[in-house]
């Protein structure tokens, strides 16, 4: 039996796993050309670290140690498989030459190259050939280093369901095969859009879960922001619409800045108009606004940047009354042109209500509802109820709130709606 691992070291290695595994894995995938093999040998390397560092202490540069150890573990694994499978013998020779020729003799791989590897891996995980839920699961596991169980908890599915998504997505990568590379300039805009979508999906999954009990879900917003930062490493070229990368990061930071203010200690949702704005995170707002300004200068921005611009107007206002609703409606006018979704139309209608009063808002909301797509969208009915409430038409307000209540299962939202209904009685 190996000597017991000191508790302190175990914790340090776990922390290291959190910060380094995504980078180590990405580089190993490039060196070994196989995601499964890279992952397995990385796990072996971390296991070896537990044993070896108990005696020697943590090396000054753990990452090269891990990469180098993993490479040898990969060769071991291939040799082992080759004993049972003749076909693999040629592969072993190929792999050995790959590993030996890799320019990592001293384990020194530049920071820049490591970040490039991570970008390659994120484009692989978000490849459009994979189903969307597979893209999200793979990204969180392979890039962010979350475990199957953590991701399952965050998305409220069983670990077995989530594990199956990952198994299938990996099989698809292997069988297609999906290459491990940053897409060509021609493909890039479309591929980047897919990556941004995955990141924003991860963010929203964490953000829509109002804080409190679901801590793991809250961590998703942090992971999404980390991923957004990673993408800003992409070198801007004429083909890369980097403004949208900055726009998305700005949007996430500006929304996240309100986290502490948007739920009560009891876990109830607090609307923007009632939030204690002194709780907003000024640092995140400042960073978000700076990124937003950079994105806007380019004039090649898209919907994320515009949504960030709206969030920034809120962030800079001292109160709802002092908010520049004229500007918000103007940004929505631009947004509906590039993203004419019913939800954007609804949000625009709510902004118009703030600018011109509830009567005008109601007219616009009803016009959106008439199209039919939002008939079962609780926020549409909740917004409608709000207009009636402000107009003093309380019966209509109550019945609209009740309709909204019937359409949502999320606990904080339900508590909020029930409170509104109670106030109207």
């Amino acid at each position: 039996m190996p000597p017991p691992v000191p508790e302190q070291l175990g914790r340090s290695i776990e922390t290291l796993y959190r910060s380094e595994s995504g980078r180590v894995l990405a580089t190993l995938v490039r060196l070994l050309g196989d995601l499964d093999l890279a992952e397995e040998s990385m796990h072996e390397a971390f296991a070896a670290a537990l044993e070896s560092w108990t005696l020697t202490g943590i090396p000054e540069k753990p990452r090269p140690w891990l990469i180098s150890t993993a490479r040898f573990k990969a060769i071991d694994a291939m040799r082992r498989r080759a004993r049972f499978d003749g076909v693999q013998r040629d592969l072993v020779a190929h792999l050995e030459s790959l590993v030996n020729d890799a320019p990592t003799g001293n384990g020194e791989i530049g920071e820049e190259e490591i970040e490039d590897d991570r970008l390659r891996l994120i484009f692989t995980c978000c490849h459009p050939a994979l189903p969307p839920e597979g893209q999200v699961a793979l990204t969180l596991r392979e890039i962010c280093g979350l475990t199957t169980e953590e991701i399952a908890r965050a998305f409220l599915v069983t670990p077995a369901t989530l594990a199956q998504r990952i198994v299938r997505a990996k099989a698809k990568i292997r069988e297609t095969p999906i290459p491990y590379e940053v897409p060509t300039p021609q493909e890039l805009p479309e591929r980047l859009a897919a990556v941004l979508q995955v990141i924003y999906l991860v963010f929203n999954e964490g953000y829509s879960a109002a804080a409190g009990a679901e801590v793991t879900r809250a961590e998703l917003t942090g992971e999404a922001i980390r991923l957004g930062r990673l993408l800003t490493e992409l070198q801007p070229t004429p083909e890369i619409p980097t403004p949208e990368i900055k726009g998305l990061l700005a949007l996430m930071l500006l929304q996240e800045s309100r986290r502490a203010a948007r739920t009560s200690p009891a876990g109830e949702l607090i609307l923007l108009e009632n939030q204690d704005r002194s709780l907003w995170n000024r640092e995140q707002i400042a960073e978000g606004v700076t990124l937003l300004e950079q994105a806007l200068i380019s004039r090649r921005f898209g919907s994320y940047t515009l949504q960030a611009a709206i969030a920034a107007v809120h962030a800079e206002a001292e109160s709802v009354a002092a908010t520049d609703w004229r500007q918000i409606v103007a940004i929505y006018d631009q947004l509906v042109r590039i993203q004419p979704s019913p939800v954007v139309h609804l949000n625009r209608a709510v902004a118009i209500a703030m600018r011109d009063g509830p009567e005008a808002g109601l007219t616009h909301i009803d016009a959106v509802l008439e199209h039919g797509e939002l008939t079962n969208y609780y926020l549409a009915h909740s917004a409608r109820a709000e207009m009636y409430r402000r107009l003093g038409r309380l019966d209509e307000a109550r019945s609209a709130y009740e309709k909204a209540l019937a359409l949502t299962q999320q606990e904080p939202e339900r508590l909020f709606l029930l409170e509104r209904i109670r106030q109207l009685k």
Partner: protein, 133 residues
């Protein structure tokens, strides 16, 4: 995290194997088990004797009753249990997917162990309170 891997085999098929086939299977399986041990993934495991050696206990009419034979009679028999140390479920799947036993028609059911620490603490508290005057 620990995962229990239940290895199931088809006894009819196993009994029909030649001795050299069986030896080849055991050699490859033991070798893979060694690999799991060497990399800290092996947290324990036992093979078990055939289902006809089993005794099943249960409660009937206010006392313990026994029957000989397994709890459930199935074509596939439980042949052994392996306790695997893995980072997460997909890591456990990846490790077991390479187990040579699979290529001989056996299957594994992988189940995460349940953490009963909180339940045990709560239970201890209940029992302490029950004892206190």
């Amino acid at each position: 995290m620990k995962y229990l891997c239940f290895g199931y085999y088809d006894k009819g098929q196993f009994d029909g194997m030649t001795e050299s086939d069986r030896n080849a299977m055991f050699d490859s399986c033991f070798e893979y088990d060694d690999h799991l041990r060497a990399n800290g993934h092996w947290a324990g495991g036992e093979a078990i004797q055939p289902a006809e050696t089993a005794m099943t206990l249960y409660w009937k009419n206010g006392k313990v009753a026994t029957t000989d034979g397994p709890y459930a009679e199935t074509k596939e028999q439980l042949g052994g249990i392996l306790v695997l140390e893995a980072r997460d479920m997909n890591h456990a799947i990846q490790l077991m997917a390479q187990h040579p036993a699979l290529t001989y028609g056996n299957s594994f059911e992988i189940r995460p162990v349940a953490d009963l620490n909180e339940m045990m603490k709560a239970s201890e508290q209940r029992r302490r309170q029950a004892v206190a005057p």
